[in-house]
C-alpha cells in the first residue's frame, strides 16, 4: 500500500468545463452519437479539428431548464418532461426552435401523457425554481382550462421514500431525543453519508449540474393550484388557423419582448393534432393545405424568437394512413423530430404475461420507434430506429429501454420410455 505526500494535490478526473457528463445511470445515453463523439476521431477525408462553441450557450442565456446538447454542444436544449424521451432524442432534450411530433398507433393515449409531461415540466419549473418569477410560459392549442387542471404534479416518491423524508424532517427538528441520538451516532452517520455521496456523485453528475432540468411526474396527481394566465395560455380552434397564428405571435411577443424577465422560455403544445373529437369536421380545420401552412407559420414564429421556443405535438397515426400522405409530409418536411409509439399486439402481450409471470416489472406496453431526430437527421445521420426500443407507462414514470424479445422457457417434461 502506498501513501501520497501531504502537500500533493490529488488530481480528479480531468473534465473540460462546459461539456456535460453523459448520464451514467442510464446506459442508453452512452450509445451511438455519444459513443461516436467519445471515440478517437477516425481518419477522415480532409477533416480539420471541429470548432465548438461550448461557452456561447451558458454565457449568453441562463435558465435552469436549459442545458447544452450532448452531441452538439452549441445547441441549447429543453427537457420534454420525460427523462427517457430526452435520452432517446440523443441531445438530452429538444433543441431550441425544434418541433417534435409523437405519433401513436392504436386507440391508447400514451402520447397524451408525454405532451402533458412536456407542459407540466414548464409549470413545475416555475413553481419550484422560479422563486416567484415565471420562467416558462406554456401555450396549449386546441384545449381549454380543463387541460391545465389535469396537468401532472411532481412525483413525491413511494411510501417508503415519503416515510424517510418525514423522518429526516423530524430529525431536523430540535428535541431531546434527537440531540442524544445525534451525539452518539454523529461520526458513523457522517462517514456513511460521505461514502454514499461519493458513490452518487459520479452517477448523478449530470443531474447535479442541471438539477431543475427535468422532473418526475405522478400521473395520478394534479398540479394545484392550477396554472393561471401568467403561466399558461389556451388558444381555441374556433377562429381558424390564421387567427391562431396571430394569437400565438401576440402571446410570444408579450412574453418575450415586453416582459421584464428576459430569460423566459415558451413551450407550445398541440395535443391530439387533427383528432376529430377536437378538430371536428370543419373544412377549414381539416384541410391539409391549411394545416401545412399553420405548421409552417409556427416554425416561422419559433425562428423569429430564436433560442426561446420549443414545440411538442401528438397525432394518431391510425386516423391518417398513407393514402393522403399527411404523415409523410409532417415527418419529412415540417417536424424536426418524430417518434412513434406502437402498442404491442395482443399476442405479444399474452406472451409477455406468460413469460414474466413472476417479474411483472419487465412487462412492457409497446415499441418506441425513432423516425427522425432533431437536427441530426437533417445533418444526414441515419438514425431511424424501428422496434429497437420499448416503453412502459407507470404511475410515476414513462420508462423507455432497449427492446429484447421475451424468451419462453420450455417446460422440461420428463419423458418416460416404456
Amino acid at each position: 500500500m502506498s501513501f501520497r505526500r501531504r502537500g500533493e494535490i490529488v488530481s480528479g478526473r480531468e473534465r473540460t468545463p462546459g461539456v456535460p457528463v453523459p448520464n451514467v445511470a442510464n446506459p442508453m445515453l452512452n450509445r451511438s452519437a455519444v459513443n461516436r463523439s467519445v471515440r478517437g476521431p477516425p481518419v477522415s477525408v480532409g477533416s480539420k479539428p471541429p470548432v465548438t462553441k461550448n461557452k456561447e450557450v451558458k454565457e449568453e442565456f441562463s435558465h435552469p431548464g436549459v442545458k447544452p446538447s450532448i452531441v452538439l454542444s452549441h445547441l441549447p436544449c429543453m427537457s420534454t418532461g420525460t427523462k427517457d424521451i430526452d435520452t432517446i432524442l440523443v441531445h438530452g432534450g429538444i433543441p431550441m426552435d425544434n418541433m417534435i411530433l409523437i405519433e401513436e398507433d392504436g386507440s391508447t393515449d400514451f402520447s397524451g401523457v408525454l405532451v402533458k409531461n412536456f407542459v407540466s415540466e414548464g409549470i413545475i419549473q416555475n413553481r419550484l425554481v422560479g422563486n416567484g418569477k415565471i420562467l416558462n410560459h406554456c401555450i396549449v392549442i386546441g384545449m381549454d382550462s380543463i387541460y391545465g387542471n389535469e396537468l401532472y404534479n411532481i412525483y413525491a416518491g413511494n411510501s417508503k421514500e415519503r416515510k424517510k423524508k418525514l423522518v429526516k424532517e423530524q430529525e431536523g427538528k430540535l428535541s431531546v431525543s434527537n440531540i442524544n441520538a445525534n451525539n452518539e451516532l454523529k461520526i458513523a452517520w457522517r462517514y456513511k453519508k460521505e461514502l454514499q455521496n461519493n458513490n452518487l456523485k459520479e452517477i448523478d453528475n449530470d443531474n447535479s449540474k442541471y438539477p431543475d432540468y427535468c422532473h418526475q411526474f405522478d400521473i395520478t396527481t394534479n398540479i394545484r393550484p392550477s396554472p393561471g394566465s401568467p403561466e399558461i395560455s389556451y388558444i381555441s380552434l374556433d377562429d381558424g388557423y390564421d387567427n391562431i397564428l396571430k394569437q400565438v405571435n401576440k402571446i410570444v411577443e408579450n412574453q418575450l419582448k415586453n416582459s421584464k424577465d428576459n430569460n423566459k422560455l415558451i413551450r407550445i403544445a398541440i395535443p391530439y393534432l387533427l383528432n376529430p373529437m377536437i378538430y371536428g369536421c370543419s373544412d377549414e380545420l381539416i384541410n391539409l393545405s391549411n394545416i401545412f401552412k399553420f405548421l409552417f407559420g409556427l416554425k416561422k414564429i419559433m425562428n423569429t424568437y430564436s433560442g426561446r421556443i420549443t414545440m411538442m405535438s401528438s397525432i394518431s397515426s391510425e386516423l391518417y394512413d398513407d393514402s393522403n400522405g399527411l404523415l409523410d409530409i409532417l415527418e419529412s418536411m415540417l417536424f424536426d423530430g418524430v417518434l412513434r409509439l406502437v402498442p404491442f399486439p395482443h399476442e405479444l402481450n399474452v406472451l409477455m404475461e406468460k413469460v414474466y409471470k413472476t417479474q411483472r416489472e419487465k412487462i412492457k406496453q409497446g415499441y418506441v420507434d425513432i423516425l427522425r431526430l432533431p437536427v441530426l437527421t437533417s445533418m444526414g445521420m441515419m438514425d431511424k430506429r424501428l422496434k429497437e426500443y420499448c416503453f412502459k407507462n407507470s404511475k410515476s414514470n414513462f420508462h423507455v429501454e432497449q427492446w429484447s424479445i421475451p424468451v419462453e422457457e420450455e417446460e422440461i417434461v420428463e419423458k418416460t420410455d416404456f
Partner: protein, 243 residues
C-alpha cells in the same frame, strides 16, 4: 464478409473531369433525392465548399488536383432547414464566413414572402457570374399555396435554371396527391440525378446509406461518372466507399 473498416475510402465525383468534380455547368439542372431519414446536408456542404473555393478544395474529394479557379457565388435557399443544420459543416470546413456563400431560409422571419420566392431568387443571382444555386424542398410550395400547380412550379424552377447551375433537393418520401407527379416531372428535366437511399436491410452502425450517381434524361456537356457509393456519416467525418 468485408466490413467498411476493410474498404478503402473513396473520393466523390459526379463528372469524369476531375478538375470540377462536383460543380455542374451553367444552365443545367441536377436533382438530389433523399428520404426523410437521410437528408444530404453533408453533400450540399461538400458542393458548396468546392464551388466557393479558389483551389478546388472539397472534403469529399480530397485527392483531386489543386487548381486555381474562380470562386463561384453560391446560394442555398431552403424551405425546410435553417442555418442550424449546416453550422457544424460550415464551421468545420471554413466556409461559414466566405463572402461568396449565401444562405436563405424561408422559415426565417427576414426571408422573402413565399408568394414571390422565385422572383427574389432570380433578382439575387441575376447579376452574378457563374452562380451555383441549391434549392431545398421547393415542393413545399405546392403544399403551402394551393394556387401553385406542379406545372407552375416547374416553370419557375426552369426560369431560375436559366441563370445558374441549379441543384434541386427533393424528398422521395411524400406520397401525397399534392406532389405525386412533381418528382417524375423534375426528374425528366435533370441532367444529373443523385439519389440517397437508406439501407434496405435497415439501420447499420457502419453504413448510413447508399448514394447513386446517374445520368439524367437531359444531355450534359460534361461526362457523368455513373457510380454507386456506400457512405458513413459519423459525428466527426463523412466516409465514402465504392459499392
Amino acid at each position: 464478409m468485408a466490413s467498411t473498416s476493410d474498404l478503402q475510402e473513396q473520393a466523390l465525383t459526379f463528372y469524369k473531369n476531375k478538375s470540377n468534380a462536383l460543380t455542374p455547368s451553367q444552365n443545367t439542372l441536377s436533382l438530389i433525392t433523399h428520404d426523410s431519414s437521410n437528408f444530404p446536408s453533408w453533400l450540399i456542404a461538400g458542393i458548396l465548399q468546392q464551388s466557393v473555393s479558389t483551389n478546388n478544395e472539397c472534403f469529399l474529394s480530397p485527392n483531386f488536383p489543386s487548381i486555381n479557379k474562380e470562386s463561384s457565388p453560391s446560394y442555398v435557399y431552403s424551405f425546410t432547414n435553417t442555418i442550424q443544420t449546416y453550422n457544424k459543416y460550415f464551421l468545420k470546413y471554413n466556409i461559414k464566413n466566405n463572402k461568396n456563400l449565401h444562405f436563405t431560409s424561408f422559415i426565417n422571419s427576414d426571408a422573402p414572402p413565399l408568394a414571390s420566392w422565385y422572383t427574389s431568387i432570380i433578382s439575387e443571382i441575376k447579376s452574378n457570374r457563374n452562380p451555383v444555386v441549391i434549392i431545398e424542398n421547393p415542393e413545399l410550395v405546392l403544399l403551402l399555396d394551393p394556387t401553385v400547380t406542379i406545372n407552375k412550379l416547374l416553370s419557375q424552377i426552369q426560369e431560375i435554371q436559366k441563370h445558374c447551375a441549379l441543384y434541386i433537393v427533393s424528398t422521395t418520401s411524400t406520397s401525397s396527391s399534392f406532389t405525386s407527379t412533381y418528382l417524375p416531372s423534375i426528374l425528366h428535366r435533370s441532367s444529373l440525378i443523385i439519389s440517397l437511399t437508406a439501407l434496405t436491410t435497415g439501420r447499420a452502425d457502419d453504413i448510413s446509406g447508399t448514394l447513386t450517381i446517374s445520368t439524367g434524361p437531359i444531355p450534359n456537356e460534361n461526362q457523368i461518372e455513373s457510380r454507386q457509393y456506400s457512405y458513413l456519416i459519423s459525428n466527426s467525418a463523412v466516409k465514402l466507399y465504392f459499392k
